[in-house]
């Protein structure tokens, strides 16, 4: 538990040393103290924008997880869906989501919609792929047992393969939680009127580097907190799974 704090302290100390003992100007690398001061002074402004970004991330996670989960279930349930949908999903990964960001802003506007859509695009695949993998790897002994019990395809999927795949689904959700902020921030960079990404782009244009760093610190803290919370929740829900 103590190790991450040591790492962070060493990191901040090294950062401070670089700013104190080299001639790098503050507009390129502000000192930790300056960033901390900005964090304090601009707290209301940063908090308001962080709230916007957090909302986008959470909404994106919710929508992306539901859509990804349904897609995986559909593909697992229907061979036809698998033949049509799965190649499209794999192909879609060849298009960089980043390239779609301007289009999404054009279509969905400067508001929350385009950012949520970006987050959904980023997390949809890891959720679907992990969950589907879990659905396909049901222990063969269980399937044999289900077969001798004359189980129906649908009920075997819902009562056996689905719960058995939840640990894999949880892995996908963990990855999604870690990458969802990327989607939201990217959407904000391309076009937004609020959010941490908007703060960064603005601060960058005005060479307010300390403010940029402050936004970055908040974003990192938010992402890590979100990940830890989701991880803890999943462990609580899946106590039966080996390794949580």
């Amino acid at each position: 538990m103590i190790r991450p704090f040591i790492t962070i302290i060493v990191f901040i100390a090294a950062w401070w040393a670089v700013t104190a003992f080299t001639s790098i100007p503050p507009f390129m690398l502000p000192a930790p103290g300056a960033v901390a001061q900005t964090l304090y002074q601009q707290a209301p402004y940063l908090a308001a924008n962080a709230g916007v970004t957090l909302g986008e991330i959470l909404l994106g996670l919710l929508v992306g997880t539901v859509l990804g989960g349904l897609a995986a279930l559909g593909i697992a349930a229907s061979a036809t869906l698998q033949r049509w949908l799965w190649p499209i999903l794999v192909l879609s990964q060849a298009i960089p989501v980043f390239a779609l960001a301007p289009l999404l802003v054009l279509w969905l506007g400067f508001g929350i919609g385009s950012k949520v859509a970006m987050a959904v695009l980023v997390i949809f695949f890891p959720v679907t792929a992990n969950f589907l993998d879990g659905l396909r790897r049901t222990e063969s002994g269980w399937l044999d047992l289900a077969h001798t019990m004359n189980g129906s395809r649908l009920h075997i999927l819902l009562n056996l393969r689905l719960p058995a795949a939840l640990p894999a689904f949880a892995s996908g959700l963990r990855v999604a939680t870690a990458v969802a902020p990327i989607g939201a921030i990217l959407g904000e960079w391309v076009g937004a009127s609020s959010g941490l990404g908007y703060v960064m782009i603005n601060a960058n244009a005005r060479i307010q580097t300390a403010l940029m760093f402050a936004a970055l610190v908040i974003l990192a803290a938010m992402t890590i907190t979100l990940y830890v919370a989701v991880d803890a929740l999943l462990r609580r829900l899946l106590t039966w799974a080996p390794g949580g």
């Binding site: 009562n159 899946l238 799974a241």
Partner: protein, 239 residues
């Protein structure tokens, strides 16, 4: 009266090699038939063929009453195959859930009581001992209430005392059904079997079944059980 089972000319090949060929055997109705033999002879494959889990390359499996066998067989594997996320009670009712039928929890609870686990209904498999898990698996088998029961070394991972207790439970609750039991344990065969047969060789063949005297379950200290075991071991060694 449950049906007997007739195996006729069963062939099984795997990756070009003949596992067994021309297996013919009648499992008498309402009796425990025990199948022994060295590992790799195809005992589990034979059981899976009877259960309808894999097709033979040739031959037929039929019920002696000429009705289809599908839906009348239940299966206990070497692993208990309990679902780790479900309680003991819900594990017992699994079949109903998988068929989309309403679950009869009262009956499941009753079965858990019969196998000696009245207070473990809400426990998850990870909280149960190996013996308790096999009791839940037995209750799950009984919940299905099928006339034919196939068992693939279900007690092999248990300690000696627990195994003897499980044998007693199986003999008591599966009496009157047509049972095929695979085991590596001559003692188990002699306690539970009405008859035993040995599957061995390459490709494997079935020996003529040997009737065991008396009515199972035979007590562990019954006169003659040691003699029976010796006889069985001798046949196994010769096979």
């Amino acid at each position: 009266m449950p049906p007997g089972i007739e195996l006729r000319g069963l062939d099984l090949r795997y990756a070009g090699a003949e596992i067994f060929s021309g297996l013919t055997l009648i499992l008498p109705p309402a009796e425990f038939s025990v199948l022994l033999g060295p590992s790799g002879a195809g005992k589990t494959s034979l059981l899976r063929i009877i259960a309808g889990l894999e097709p033979p390359d040739a031959g037929t499996v039929t019920a002696t009453d000429n009705a289809p066998l599908a839906g009348r067989v239940s299966y206990m594997a070497q692993q208990d195959l309990l679902l780790p996320w479900a309680s003991a009670l819900k594990n017992v009712c699994l079949g109903a859930r998988l068929r989309g039928e309403p679950q009869n929890f009262a009956r499941a609870q009753e079965l858990l009581e019969q196998v000696g686990l009245p207070h473990r209904a809400s426990a998850r498999p990870a909280e149960l001992s190996g013996g308790e898990r096999q009791r839940v698996a037995l209750a799950r088998t009984l919940y299905e209430d099928r006339p034919v029961v196939l068992m693939d070394e279900p007690f092999s991972s248990l300690d000696a005392i627990t195994r003897v207790r499980m044998q007693d439970l199986a003999a008591k609750f599966l009496a009157g059904r047509t049972v095929l039991l695979i085991t590596h344990d001559p003692f188990e065969a002699c306690r539970l079997g009405h008859s035993f047969t040995i599957l061995s060789g390459s490709p494997a063949r079935l020996a003529v079944p040997t009737r065991l005297p008396g009515i199972p379950p035979r007590a562990p200290d019954e006169d003659g059980i040691l003699h029976l075991q010796g006889e069985l071991l001798r046949q196994l060694a010769q096979s």
